[in-house]
Symmetry: C2
Subunit: 544 residues, 2 copies
């Protein structure tokens, strides 16, 4: 056992998990402290290329990182009575399939002295364990240490779907920003990037089937994503345990399609009364009376299910406007020729043809709640319904037997609270005011109002949303972080601790501060939650 | 007259002032276009060192800059029928004094061909003219041009005080961030950085008189400002026409003084009911019953009026808490011994001794409105009163014969709208909700409700405020910009155009977009106001 000569200090009353975010599901810790010199992570047997790369990445990160946040500014140097001897890492299976069913569990044992062991069922469990390990190592004077050894962690996610939605249509995000966000997601054990890649405002992604979509629809030749770039990004994300689920929102939110295919459209850019035809300008929807729009959409589905590898594919379906179609000459002509039909039957039939085709490609449909609740269409039972309008939509969805991902605007919309953006709306506020603080986000429980365990199982998790009307790369990091981290913990660790008690924002604030400052140290411009004085004086900045 | 062979295009219907923000007070333009190759700015006679340095800086900037914003993405290349032959710059006086009375006017003439002339009364007028020139030069295909020549601009500010308040006490800002902000201010012709340098949470600035203030009060040895750094920053700001007015807020907001001088304090860090003693934690005020606090404050005033060169010095005076003193044993003892006195007379006497001493050092006091309205103290008539609580405070201040700087929280507080920050206030909103959009800020007129021209003259201008409970360097640029630019225009150009019509947000939106993207191009992470689609389609993203 090695004892550092200079390391004479008090054992601080700060547990070793101070820095681990999200908090592990179960953790036992001792009362020793282990010195950390050079971290060597050794694969035990074949671990596959994703884990091999991650080993290299985390070894570099841990050995380079010398992070001391304002939370721990006055933590005294601890006397170490053991020495960390590296990590032996093993995985049961090297299958690198990443989807909703992927096992992300891991077990991490850090003895007082000698080699730690990290065991996982899959490569993705190993990634989660490596992240935890990197957060256990803290600075200790001139050296580093892991406190409160021996440590035994058994960890696994509460929900399988823990995501962020980014919108690259209202304003473009460069690939570098997406990669940085994926890095940050991995620091928080988030595993889904829901990529709202196109919308009425722009079509940045290459289409080989319909090249004019990008040619006429991207903001510029630079503000684009080629197939090659998308493939690279998917690999990058996979290497960090993040699935990329693309959203091609149909039949609404499609004005930009009309710049390439005006023949397919209804109510293109109605002005100045766009508000009667769309939730925001410019208006424009695929013309559901034309069989060509189904053919067009299915060709897109074919192309992009070939590009995006995830077995879940988001078809949008939100904020569809009926007036747009009711006033469309083609729709009117069709309905006149088909007595008994109306816009609702047309839409339901349109959905069914697109969803059916998606199913035939072995993809699971992901769709906004309107497809289920605001249309007469009955989606296949394996459809994943993303709820956003109301928290009550979650229990409603699962009571109908559908799986739900929770994205209630009242809690999880990160764009809210920045005021109106229409150029002449001086006194306008944000439709989804107020701003959602990390505390508000942390307070939400996706299982609220659901008592039946079978129905609870249908809640897959949550996704915070960053719609991009008022954001682009300049604000990306601080709109996302640390607020997305708040949901990361409630969806990974669950709302309750091991004793069944709901965690309060007050008790987790210090850990989230630690995580926020760590992220800043790792190059993510996460915004501050409080004055540093409050960071250093836990409990002194509470509402009395 | 040189005609570029390749430059065959339509004259776009976009005036040359598209890119100038804030808009010049008077401008005449022609219908020619002048090609710009290499910009050479020549001083005519002695212009002094500030202008000499600015000439070099702007020459580099203009020659390097090749900026085309999304606003002008489809502006066709114009046929040029003249060639810009550089600028001859002259100033009437090389006196580099910078204060409230500094003349910032300039005249800029750009002929169709040949040399432009920029004339100013002072070096600071020359700086403003150089900034305008830099914004007139636009990309024109592979080359650059100034459109709509000949141009004649006569420009001067509507208000003499146009500022930003930054708070480096709740969270620290490095000197580099302050310099970047000063650069951005100069791009918007703002001229006052109100530096709220210390507060209850931290004391980052060096004190030679009381070294323990910084030693015990700075967040860390790195999060500090030495005298040398402050002097350098003042010079840097002066070189860009920005005055630095420091605020040493007394007698409230001073908890941190107690870490060096506990003997001077009342109600130090009352917990958990800090809210009865202060507007935010930690509580703590200078003990006004002790003559030592006057002596202490005056020594600070002496030191910092020596360091900060501006002839205006902010003494704070906001949010003073009476209960803090009423319960203080020293105050109680004093009042028991002095019948007829009370906390109000004590406070008024305390203010008078500090303000009198400041006056004896030939400094003008700048103070929050509470000093005037919420105390019985009657400040000297030359005191500048910063109003924030209510828009009505501005007319109230000038009707009492005092000068006013407008900072109404309802319009000019850039920190508002980010929710509660007390760790346990899950459902809490920001006290000054909602978020102030650029449109809300642009809509405010500091002269509202003041009809007497003599009283109007007492309104010196405006200052947007960025309190730092929820901000630090990670969010600085996008909290400030482009919103501070909105106030920059209304305070430089005035609320009305030459015909007397109040400018609308709708009509200025494109110019502000242009300025926002230019700032991003110049390295300032100003946030986006809208989707790029709206930027490109003026009027199509209006509330119907």
């Amino acid at each position: 056992m090695k004892i550092t000569a200079s390391a004479i200090g008090l054992l601080a009353a700060i547990p070793s998990v101070l820095g681990v975010w999200p908090i592990p599901r179960t953790l036992k810790e001792g009362s020793s402290n282990s010195e950390v010199w050079w971290v060597n992570i050794k694969p035990s047997g074949n671990v596959g290329s994703i884990v091999s790369n991650a080993i290299q990445r985390y070894q570099d990160l841990i050995n380079k990182e010398s992070f001391q946040s304002p939370v721990t500014w006055n933590v005294t140097q601890v006397k170490t009575n053991g020495s960390f001897g590296g990590v032996s890492l093993s995985v049961e299976s090297t299958d690198e399939t990443l989807n909703l069913d992927t096992d992300e569990s891991y077990t991490l044992d850090v003895p007082v002295s000698g080699e730690a062991t990290l065991k996982a069922k899959t490569p993705y469990g190993a990634l989660r364990g490596l992240e935890t390990l990197s957060q256990l190592v803290v600075t200790n004077g001139a050296s580093k240490a892991i406190r409160n050894t021996p440590i035994h962690i058994e960890d696994s996610p509460f929900f399988p779907h823990r995501g962020i939605q980014l919108d690259t249509a209202r304003n473009y995000l460069p690939i570098s920003a997406l990669k940085r966000t994926i890095d940050a997601m991995s620091y928080n054990k988030l595993n889904v990037l829901h990529w709202h890649i196109v919308d009425s405002q722009s079509w940045p992604v290459e289409s080989k089937t319909f090249p004019d979509l990008q040619k006429n629809g991207a903001y510029s030749a630079k503000e684009t994503y080629s197939h090659a770039e998308v493939r690279d990004l998917i690999q990058y994300a996979k290497g960090r345990g993040v699935r990329i689920i693309p959203e091609f929102d149909v039949p609404g939110h499609t004005y930009i399609v009309g710049k390439a295919r005006p023949d397919l459209m209804s109510c293109m850019n109605m002005q100045p009364n766009w508000d009667q035809y769309a939730a925001e300008p410019p208006s424009g929807q695929l013309n559901i009376a034309k069989p060509e729009t189904i053919e067009f959409t299915n060709k897109l589905v074919k192309e992009y299910t070939g590009l995006f590898t995830d077995n879940v594919f988001h078809l949008g379906g939100d904020e569809v406007n009926r007036k747009c179609w009711k006033e469309d000459p083609d729709v009117q002509k069709y309905l006149a020729a088909h007595p008994g039909e109306d816009v609702e039957t047309l839409l339901a039939s349109w959905y069914s043809k697109v969803h059916e085709y998606l199913g035939s490609l072995n993809r699971t449909a992901y769709t906004w709640e309107e497809t289920l609740f605001h249309s007469t269409y009955e989606p296949p039972k394996d459809t994943i319904v993303q709820t956003w309008i109301d928290e009550q939509s979650i229990p409603k969805t699962v009571s109908k037997g559908y799986r739900s991902v929770a994205s209630p605007a009242s809690y999880y919309y990160l764009d809210c609270g920045h005021g109106a953006w229409l150029s002449n709306w001086v006194a306008g506020n944000s439709w989804c005011d107020p701003f959602k603080t990390w505390m508000k986000i942390y307070s939400f429980d996706p299982l609220t109002g659901i008592t039946d365990p079978a129905q609870q199982k249908l809640v897959l998790g949550g996704e915070v949303q960053l719609w991009a009307e008022q954001s682009d790369e300049t604000v990306l990091d601080n709109r996302l972080w640390p607020r997305a981290a708040a949901m990361a913990e409630t969806t990974w660790s669950g709302k309750k601790d091991a004793t069944g008690r709901v965690r309060t924002t007050e008790e987790v604030a210090s850990r989230l501060h630690e995580q926020r400052f760590r992220m800043v140290d790792r190059g993510i411009s996460a915004g501050p939650m409080q004055p540093v004085w409050c960071v250093r004086n836990p409990g002194h900045c509470n509402l009395p």
